[in-house]
């Protein structure tokens, strides 16, 4: 607890500095954000979530009093190392393309006998979602250093990619926004926040390889599901349902486009 508090203090100090940087010259401010990011890398608060995620993974729970250690994340039951780098992927047992988070929910149901409805419905930043975010941090951390290798071999994987691409360009709502409005040009920003050009290998690779990430300004650990939900909020869209096909399709589009980039998780962000 004490440690978390200390880190909170760091977070506030950094966001204050980043705020000030807004008034400095443009390139300089982006440079200094980069510096803080580097400075924080040594003590990424995400490590705390990694540790609690590992504990959640290994501790028996649910009506079946089982741990998640036998969960098949795609590389065989119990293999966590490198699994995140190959997700989303098609799973035969569910006959679905799943991302890491939807797959963990499946394992909670089958191995632990947990009804996951409440986990799906819980708002972000409440205990149930925080557990899932901790698990996401642990699992993704076990792929750090591993190149992204998402398969498009199965017809359902290709279909998911195409659906994700179509949703990426799907314009709607009062602001006529699509993901593409903000993420489809090289080198642009909103205010001072740089926007990755997601349809390119470079943009998608740098984005996909650095989530889940600890968000310094919010003092929160965000998974990709949370990242996407907040972009949909800014897009003025209704709320995406956690682990819905729409969110998995977008993830499939970004992850497969980013193939080859090396996972650097957990990330740390503004």
């Amino acid at each position: 607890m004490k440690r978390i508090h200390l880190l909170g203090g760091v977070a506030i100090a950094v966001s204050a500095l980043v705020g000030q940087a807004a008034w400095a010259e443009k390139d300089k401010s982006i440079e200094s954000i980069e510096e803080y990011r580097q400075a924080l890398k040594d003590g990424n608060p995400a490590e705390l979530f990694q540790a609690s995620g590992e504990e959640l993974w290994k501790t028996p729970a649910g009506p079946k009093n089982a741990s998640l250690e036998r969960c098949d994340l795609g590389l065989g039951a119990g293999v966590v190392k490198g699994a995140y780098a190959q997700l989303p992927r098609y799973f035969k047992d569910t006959n679905k393309v799943q991302d890491m988070e939807s797959r963990v929910l499946t394992c909670m149901e089958t191995l632990q006998g947990i009804d996951t409805k409440e986990y799906v419905q819980a708002p972000f930043d409440t205990p149930k979602k925080n557990d899932l975010n901790a698990l996401a941090t642990y699992i993704s951390g076990e792929s750090s250093g591993v190149p992204i290798k998402v398969s498009l071999a199965h017809p359902k994987e290709r279909q998911m990619y195409n659906l994700g691409k179509r949703l990426f360009y799907y314009e709607g709502g009062p602001h006529d926004f699509a993901c593409a409005t903000c993420h489809s040009q090289e080198g642009v920003r909103i205010r001072l926040q740089e926007l990755p050009y997601l349809p390119s290998a470079k943009g998608a690779g740098s984005a996909w390889s650095t989530w889940p990430a600890y968000r310094v300004s919010a003092g929160q650990m965000w998974s990709m599901q949370w990242r996407l939900a907040d972009c949909f909020r800014q897009q003025r869209f209704p709320e995406p349902i956690y682990t819905s096909e729409a969110t998995i399709a977008l993830s499939m589009f970004i992850a497969a486009t980013g193939n080859g980039a090396v996972m650097d998780t957990p990330g740390i962000k503004r």
Binding site: W23, R166, Y169, Y170, G172, P174, V188, E239, A246
Partner: protein, 213 residues
């Protein structure tokens, strides 16, 4: 409406079939796997606050612009012109005949990015989001770059009737001059009020505004 819709589908299909290199990749846009895509939208979202699922329904402009390769192709020139004309026809000109309001109020509208997300309230004052995408007053250096710089906007263009009209039309309905503009249709979609448009007009065009110093 319905006619536009049918026409755009036919036109899209034609382009996809006729453009070499594009035909190999007709696997994802409008016309490909429509039922699955619609089902995915239906099952993927829920109402939250003011951001309800009916926002997923597209008007004909949004639909056309959701396949950027097709929308930007030379074959679609006529369609783009048609969409621009439709959007221009929807522009409401200032009811009191006044083009310019108060640039100081306009600065506040340009600064604010608030409004219409699921964490906003229906009765709050929305912002114009302008600094998210544009450089405007030189005093604000935290500006985005999705749109062009508007610094010295009035100083460069003057404020002839023509400039006043085109600028009003752009802010009221950005798609009136560029079918698939990335800029929101501020007045058309009810994001900002007539008074707010008059105020940002002043920010861009009033000789006293810091934009034109």
């Amino acid at each position: 409406m319905k006619q536009t819709f049918v026409f755009s589908l036919v036109a899209l299909t034609l382009v996809v079939a006729a453009t070499p290199g594009h035909s190999a990749d007709n696997s994802w846009g409008s016309g490909a796997d429509d039922k699955t895509f619609d089902a995915m939208l239906q099952s993927g979202f829920k109402d939250r606050g003011i951001a309800t699922v009916d926002r997923l329904k597209q008007d004909s402009t949004q639909k056309f612009c959701s396949d950027p390769v097709s929308a930007a192709s030379p074959k679609m020139e006529k369609m783009r012109k048609k969409i621009e004309a439709e959007n221009l026809a929807s522009v409401k000109w200032p009811s009191d005949g006044k083009w310019l309001g108060d640039w100081k109020e306009g600065e506040k509208v340009a600064q604010s990015g608030k409004g219409l997300t699921w964490s906003d309230k229906a009765d709050q004052v929305n912002g114009g989001n302008c600094y998210n995408c544009h450089q405007i007053s030189p005093k604000e250096i935290a500006f985005g770059t999705i749109g062009p710089s508007l610094y010295n906007y009035g100083k460069i263009r003057g404020n002839s009737e023509e400039v006043l009209r085109t600028t009003w039309a752009k802010i009221f309905n950005a798609k009136s001059s560029n079918a698939c503009s990335n800029m929101p249709r501020g007045g058309h979609m009810g994001i900002i009020t007539e008074k707010q448009i008059q105020d940002v007009m002043a920010l861009l065009l009033d000789p006293q505004s810091p934009v034109n110093q």
